[in-house]
């Protein structure tokens, strides 16, 4: 029983990572109405930028803020420049451009900073929280930042004019134009925000998984899984989904004998898919009523 409790807590701790990523995924989904497959690589690249800034002597706080601004701009750039020419192309063509972006970012990061693993500082320190062995200060910090971010996004989308405009632009661009919403800029804003959130996620995650170009690949997956589990329409769902994935993954790894370190991911995904088969709109998603 104690083992169960320990594993659940450990799962929540790792889940914070996935929750952060899931948040970025849902964020951009709310803004642009499809999944950003390059989210992980963008976050990774942003983290490297922060790393470089600190190498150049900037203190952590300044590097953090600068990285967020640069990432925001990068996100806007990717939307306005790279995705503009294929604006009207079918979804699969978009997916392929995402894949290309992924390849470019991964390769460029490896080229500039090489593939050796680097350590990345944490603003919370790495000592255990209040001396407890269950969760470190940094992991607790991650959970807090994730929740704060979530709160911010919740208020932003629910209670601000821009938030509403963004949701409208994503849900129905033609109608949004008819009420005067500048859909193009709303999309760009969504991308910028997602890039910024991804940067925050990456900067938080790097101290735990260590910085290297491939660090985000499995995390993005878990992030997707968490977002989908939570229902893709709900930032809160994404966060809960992310935590759930962390717990499930940990429990599966501990209690199912066949599952070695490497089968954790597919098992976790399969379990999530099983949930979706029974509840297609996710745990917290609102069922979209479609009138035929």
């Amino acid at each position: 029983m104690e083992l169960l409790g320990q594993q659940v807590l450990a799962g929540i701790a790792t889940g914070a990572i996935y929750a952060c990523m899931a948040l970025a995924v849902v964020m951009i989904y709310q803004a642009i109405d499809h999944l950003n497959f390059a989210q992980g690589e963008m976050a990774m690249f942003s983290t490297f930028i922060a790393y470089q800034l600190m190498l150049w002597g900037f203190p952590y706080g300044i590097a953090f803020l600068l990285t967020i601004v640069i990432s925001f701009a990068g996100g806007v750039f990717i939307d306005r420049v790279i995705f503009k020419p294929i604006h009207d192309a079918p979804i699969l063509s978009h997916v392929v451009v995402f894949i290309a972006l992924l390849a470019i970012l991964n390769s460029a990061a490896g080229f500039i900073w090489d593939f050796t693993v680097k350590s990345f500082p944490s603003p919370f320190g790495s000592s255990p929280l209040f001396g407890s062995s269950l969760i470190s200060a940094h992991q607790a910090g991650m959970v807090c930042v994730t929740l704060l971010l979530l709160l911010f996004l919740f208020f932003f989308f629910r209670y601000t004019r821009i938030g509403l405009s963004m949701r409208a632009a994503a849900a129905n661009p033609a109608s949004a134009r008819l009420v005067g919403v500048r859909v193009g800029w709303m999309n760009a804003l969504g991308w910028g925000m997602a890039a910024a959130i991804g940067a925050i996620a990456g900067i938080l995650i790097a101290p735990v998984v260590f910085l290297e170009p491939n660090m985000m690949i499995s995390i993005l997956l878990y992030g997707f899984a968490g977002a989908v589990l939570g229902g893709l329409t709900s930032p809160a769902g994404a966060v809960i989904g992310g935590f759930t994935v962390g717990v499930v993954e940990n429990l599966a790894g501990t209690f199912i004998p066949v599952v070695g370190g490497e089968l954790k991911l597919p098992i976790a995904l399969m379990l999530i898919v099983a949930v979706l088969v029974f509840k297609p709109s996710g745990l917290m998603g609102r069922t979209v009523v479609q009138r035929v």
Partner: protein
């Protein structure tokens, strides 16, 4: 009633059928290009040395796999990131049959096909309830799970574990003056042509139209009496069959199967090949296969350290130029001819 003409709205008139009239009417052009293709394809081994022939054979193998994916995604509208799993299943089926049961390589193809058809059909059943992103995630999980499953210790007796299985390269029939690579090339070409013709006939048949109806408007399809579950699962099975046969061929020509050859990267490559060739356009598979095989090599030639970035840039530029793949390009060229 009034004499008003019930002319279709202009919007409807422009609605593109998936086999655009320009491509269908281009029947004669299709025939000519088919003949040209055949002539070129048959002459390849005569002009190139063995290694290049081997590469072209691999290209054909990928084309078959992409053809399979096209049947599922392009024709039936179900998205799959997991086809590397079926490719692997076909490959391992062939390898195990040849290595442990001394089955002649030719028979491994239908065996791989049957095994993969069943696997695909079984996977398609629960996948029925999943749409778009959810299906993508499920197939994604399948792709990631595959190398891990292949490495599992309980299965090592069959799969050879991490080391995989080595196969003996088959010999050409004695009455043909060809070497091994050349023979395998022609063999693969023949299989590819047969499979292509079968696929084309499938798409043109009532079944094919039902599959496309499901893709375009599932609710309407169902209300017309099309059994969604059956057709969608069959589509999955058939698609898996094609990709499985490709996997078997791949194993034979490479003479080797190992878990890490069948990762998510392969699934992504198939997807890229599908889009580059043109979603829903069967002949596009050959363009897709060519792209997937040759462009990464070209990218590495340009810059070893930045090969991924170069590949990405080439891919993006290609999509800019041809957003709907080679299909769109051919369509544009043909409509120039008509105009």
């Amino acid at each position: 009633m009034a004499e008003t003409t019930l002319a279709p709205t202009a919007g409807e008139a422009v609605a593109t059928a998936e086999m655009p009239r320009s491509l269908r009417r281009g029947g004669r052009i299709a025939l000519i290009s088919g003949i040209v293709f055949l002539v070129v394809a048959i002459s390849i081994p005569l002009f190139f040395r063995n290694f290049v022939v081997f590469q072209f054979t691999q290209m054909l193998v990928y084309a078959i796999a992409i053809l399979g994916l096209n049947l599922l995604t392009g024709i039936n509208g179900q998205f799959s990131l997991g086809h590397s799993a079926f490719y692997a299943l076909g490959a391992y089926t062939a390898a195990i049959l040849m290595d442990q049961y001394s089955v002649n390589y030719i028979w491994t193809l239908p065996a791989a096909g049957v095994v993969c058809f069943i696997a695909g059909f079984l996977f398609g059943l629960p996948a029925l309830r999943l749409e778009g992103i959810y299906l993508a995630l499920a197939t994604f999980a399948l792709a990631i799970a595959t190398p891990q499953i292949l490495k599992l210790s309980p299965l090592e007796h069959w799969t050879g574990g991490v080391q995989g299985i080595v196969i003996v390269k088959p010999d050409p029939p004695s009455w043909l003056p060809l070497n091994q690579d050349q023979w395998l090339y022609y063999f693969t070409l023949a299989v590819a042509l047969i499979l292509y013709i079968l696929a084309r006939n499938l798409v043109k048949s009532r079944t094919g139209r039902a599959l496309m109806a499901i893709r375009d408007n599932p609710i309407a399809a169902r209300s017309m009496g099309i059994n969604l579950s059956l057709y969608k699962s069959l589509a999955f099975g058939t698609s898996a069959l094609y990709t499985g046969i490709a996997g078997a061929l791949g194993a034979i020509i490479v003479q080797f199967v190992a878990p890490d050859s069948f990762t998510l990267v392969l699934s992504i490559a198939f997807l890229v090949g599908l889009v580059v060739g043109g979603v829903g356009w069967l002949p596009g598979a050959i363009f897709g296969g060519a792209f997937v095989l040759f462009v990464p090599n070209i990218a590495e030639g340009v810059s070893k350290g930045l090969s991924g970035a170069v590949y990405g840039v080439i891919l993006i530029l290609l999509i800019y130029l041809m957003p709907t793949g080679a299909a769109g390009f051919v369509r544009a060229v043909l409509s120039r001819f008509k105009a």
